[in-house]
């Protein structure tokens, strides 16, 4: 009966619309391990547990807390079952998680959500507001969370930015309703998502992405089913300089779209935090190195099968008067890609994930965004032609690195030099993407100069990567200070005979002792 149903579904849609083979959520593990304290007040409804929705990382933090504070021990099997159940009955719809995915993806140096000054100080001073934005509760449960906070951390009202206001009054009288209005339990998006069937990631994929400090990469991925609802993936990827970035991954898809993989990629063991798009056509997110979440790369993948499409040109920026080797990632691209007037493609060679070509860009080719067409597909802004770099902006503009030492690894600061050209009607100009640059550091201000921060805080390498020093006390510093400080980071890009520089602020600060999955 079940098999018959599956076969029907296979016949109904394109291959990738095959629903994931998820069994109906089974509450037995939660019943066994949680209901001793969380009463099953009606069948399948566990007090508190069933009154909130979270991301996989949010639930993981809860399980960590139930273990650490309340002594709940789960073996691997039970943990997996509990997590599957919680994420399927109490997850976030893709659109609900989207605004704060940066926190799940552990993107370094991103601005937190902005929810106004009061919420920022009330809730955003210890951890990201994303942590709250990645949960859904009604007012009574947001209120209980305020009780949890003060019950667990009674000094909260006494700390700086806690004691200057009536924290408890605000957290218990005003914020629960505000939070419930922003992030309510019951939403149309979740009703629709939790009632629907979801695409399976199984199949062949085209992959492209960018790893800051390392460069663009591209290639293919093959994803196969593993066990009942896991997946395994094989990656055949290369960096722009030809270095292989191959790998394999084992993953689980939670809530019908939250891909969480454990992979080896090149030399690194990495964690993958990807989202399958609602239609199942894209898989995107970020991977990062285990133990060094600040080091990683963007990840984009599109189905290998389908109508012709141009996804990306690597590199995106084409210098007028120069020849550039490019890779066009796409499907059904044919052999004659076009980049608009003044750009001629030659030596076109098919790749598993698109094509490779040599582009001759005329010296007088018009600067600006270029649509790219190939095989009948068109991408309106896949490339940019430039004659002169007008500006270089160092990203991040404000970065944080942390000294290492003891059991705590340093947090690296990775910078990139993003070129811009000015363009009429585009106040911010047009971004050329990260460009090769040379790097240096300088004191950020007089205080940093006097304290010789440049000497003590760490070193900058040729790829814009700042490696912080070991934590103090450093007997060579005044007061045997820590090796923290304020630096200016300067990246310089060669543009023909000229060079263009940009500057950013790097704060090298103290270690962080805990690294929760959601900051």
């Amino acid at each position: 009966m079940k098999h018959l149903l599956l076969r029907c579904l296979v016949l109904l849609g394109p291959a990738f619309a095959l629903p994931a083979l998820a069994a109906p959520p089974d509450p037995s593990a939660v019943r066994a391990h949680c209901s001793g304290c969380h009463r099953e007040s009606s069948p399948g409804h566990f007090d508190r547990i069933s009154d909130m929705r979270k991301t996989p990382e949010g639930w993981e933090m809860t399980l960590f807390r139930m273990h650490q504070v309340h002594g709940v021990v789960l073996d691997d099997d039970a943990r997996t079952q509990v997590l599957r159940y919680l994420t399927s009955v109490g997850g976030l719809a893709p659109a609900e998680a989207a605004p704060a995915r940066f926190a799940l993806e552990r993107r370094p140096n991103v601005q937190d959500l902005s929810l106004g000054d009061e919420m920022g100080v009330m809730c955003g001073r210890c951890h990201s507001l994303a942590r709250a934005a990645l949960q859904r509760r009604d007012a009574p449960e947001w209120l209980k969370l305020a009780h949890t906070h003060v019950g667990q951390w009674p000094t909260l009202e006494y700390q700086q930015s806690g004691r200057d206001r009536f924290w408890w009054e605000s957290a218990t009288k005003e914020l629960p309703a505000k939070l419930a209005a922003l992030y309510p339990l019951d939403t149309p998006a979740w009703r629709k998502w939790s009632a629907g069937t979801h695409a399976s990631p199984v199949g062949r994929w085209l992959v492209w992405g960018h790893a800051p400090g390392r460069g663009d990469y591209h290639g293919t991925a093959v994803i196969a089913a593993r066990g009942t609802d896991g997946y395994s993936a094989t990656y055949t990827l290369t960096y722009a300089d030809g270095t292989a970035l191959n790998g394999t991954s084992k993953s689980v898809v939670y809530t019908g779209y939250e891909w969480r993989g454990s992979a080896t990629l090149g030399q690194d063991d990495v964690r993958e935090v990807y989202a399958l798009s609602e239609d199942g056509a894209r898989l995107s997110g970020r991977w990062f190195v285990n133990g060094h979440a600040e080091v990683g790369g963007d990840w984009h993948a599109a189905r290998a099968e389908g109508a012709p499409a141009v996804f990306a040109v690597l590199p995106r920026a084409l210098r007028a008067g120069a020849a550039t080797e490019v890779v066009v990632v796409g499907r059904g691209l044919g052999t004659s890609p076009a980049f608009g007037a003044g750009v001629t493609a030659s030596a076109v060679k098919a790749l598993p994930d698109g094509l490779h070509a040599t582009l001759a860009v005329a010296a007088d080719a018009a600067p600006g965004v270029r649509p790219v067409t190939a095989g009948g597909a068109r991408n309106a802004d896949a490339a940019v032609v430039y004659a002169k770099i007008d500006r270089v902006v160092i990203e991040p503009q404000y970065g944080i690195a942390r000294v290492g030492g003891g059991k705590v690894a340093p947090v690296i600061g990775q910078f990139e030099a993003v070129g811009y050209i000015d363009a009429a009607g585009k106040p911010g100009g047009i971004a050329l993407g990260p460009l090769p640059a040379s790097w240096s550091v300088a004191p950020h201000d007089e205080q940093a100069k006097a304290a010789e921060d440049v000497k003590f805080t760490g070193t900058m390498d040729a790829s814009g990567k700042f490696l912080p020093a070991v934590a103090g006390p450093d007997p060579q510093r005044p007061f045997s200070g820590n090796n923290v400080g304020d630096l200016a980071v300067i990246g310089t890009v060669k543009d023909g005979d000229r060079s263009v520089s940009g500057k950013a602020h790097l704060v090298v600060t103290v270690q962080r002792w805990n690294t929760p999955p959601i900051y």
């Binding site: 009463r39 667990q152 000094t155 009202e157 200070g481």
Partner: protein, 371 residues
């Protein structure tokens, strides 16, 4: 009110440094007969002879569970009441024997109670008033309850239960008994005064609603209730002061707040645009001056309301006290040594490193005068 953060981090960072730097033991340099009391993690209570800079007793506090904080002395100087066990217990230790003679475990099954630093003994030594923050621990939920004052009889032994409780405001961080024994002060959002007997709120004034024209709402967090030398409590208090032609947000200013426990007089005195962080302060019994400590030792001329002298310290200290004759400044807390400084010149006169270098953390540094 914002404190220059990078500066604080630098200071904190340099603080840890001292853990590794062995400091030399002091030598007898003073003829005073003060006894100092301090405590250090995980469970140690020290009785120190200030004159010879030596430890006369080192005791272990039972059931400290690795955490200790404020110290309050009985008026006769015989017993030290120490907040221990992650703010959940108060242990009364007899200083001559090290015996625990009083114990109040504030928590009970189903209710976790933390004393947020604030407790004091009555002037007759018979009662201990404790600020309690209870949280009800339900099967799957924490319910934060309203804070309360709990009064214990000091002769209630090792299983002391509160003789009476009454409602308290939130976010109180210090209790100071008034010398007439009829009331006590609680410092929090405001300075509250409560009747010892029935917990009636007698008066509420001057912190958030301080009467200090031209100043923003101040920032005050004091957890070192040092008053033994003068009967006055002195603490730094921070605000932004409006200065003619100055910046729009005002100028960060450090003032001293003084509360006289004899008569309840409350005064504020500005003494500098904030130039250094000061954690705690103490007034002099012999001159119009006060001393404050953190990564520097600060002397304030309270007659003129200005900074008299400041010297950098080799690491941070949280707690400060003064010899009975006002000639020597004692500093402690934060790390594992007690420093002795000349009250006139602020010169370092000695240093006593506690054996094993234990962390004094937030422990109060207390003085008992033995003539």
């Amino acid at each position: 009110m914002s404190i220059p953060w990078s500066q604080t981090l630098r200071a904190l960072a340099s603080g840890t440094a001292a853990l590794l730097l062995a400091s030399c033991g002091g030598h007898a340099g003073s003829s005073n007969h003060d006894i100092l009391i301090t405590a250090a993690k995980p469970d140690r209570l020290f009785v120190i002879d200030a004159g010879s800079r030596s430890i006369t007793h080192e005791y272990r506090i039972p059931g400290a569970d690795g955490w200790l904080g404020g110290i309050v002395l009985s008026p006769d100087g015989r017993i030290a009441y120490v907040l221990v066990n992650h703010m959940e217990s108060i242990a009364g230790i007899e200083l001559s024997s090290g015996k625990q003679v009083f114990r109040a475990d504030l928590s009970a099954p189903g209710e976790r109670v933390k004393c947020l630093f604030a407790f004091d003994v009555s002037p007759d030594g018979k009662e201990l008033v404790v600020y309690e923050n209870p949280t009800q621990l339900k099967a799957d939920e924490y319910v934060v309850e309203e804070p309360r004052f709990a009064v214990f009889a000091t002769n209630a032994g090792l299983e002391a239960k509160a003789a009476r409780t009454y409602p308290a405001p939130r976010r109180v961080h210090m209790i100071l008994s008034k010398q007439d024994g009829k009331s006590f002060y609680a410092l929090g959002f405001e300075l509250y005064e409560y009747a010892f007997g029935d917990g009636k709120l007698l008066e509420q004034r001057g912190i958030r609603s301080w009467d200090h024209p031209g100043h923003s709402i101040p920032d005050l967090l004091a957890v070192w209730p040092v008053t033994e030398g003068t009967g006055e409590f002195v603490t730094p208090i921070y605000s932004n002061a409006t200065v003619p032609g100055g910046p729009a947000g005002g100028v960060p200013t450090t003032s001293l707040m003084t509360l006289d426990l004899k008569n309840g007089a409350l005064t504020y005195q500005d003494f500098e645009p904030t130039a250094a962080l000061i954690f705690s302060a103490v007034g002099s019994p012999v001159r119009k001056e006060a001393f404050g400590v953190y990564s520097a030792l600060t002397k304030v001329d309270t007659a003129q309301g200005k900074l008299a002298k400041r010297v950098n310290l080799d690491h941070t200290y949280y707690a400060v006290n003064l010899s009975t004759d006002g000639s020597e400044v004692y500093i402690g807390g934060a790390m594992c040594d007690v420093g002795f400084y000349d009250a006139i010149t602020l010169e370092k006169k000695g240093n006593l490193r506690l054996p094993g270098c234990p962390d004094q953390a937030l422990a109060t540094l207390r003085v008992i005068h033995h003539p």
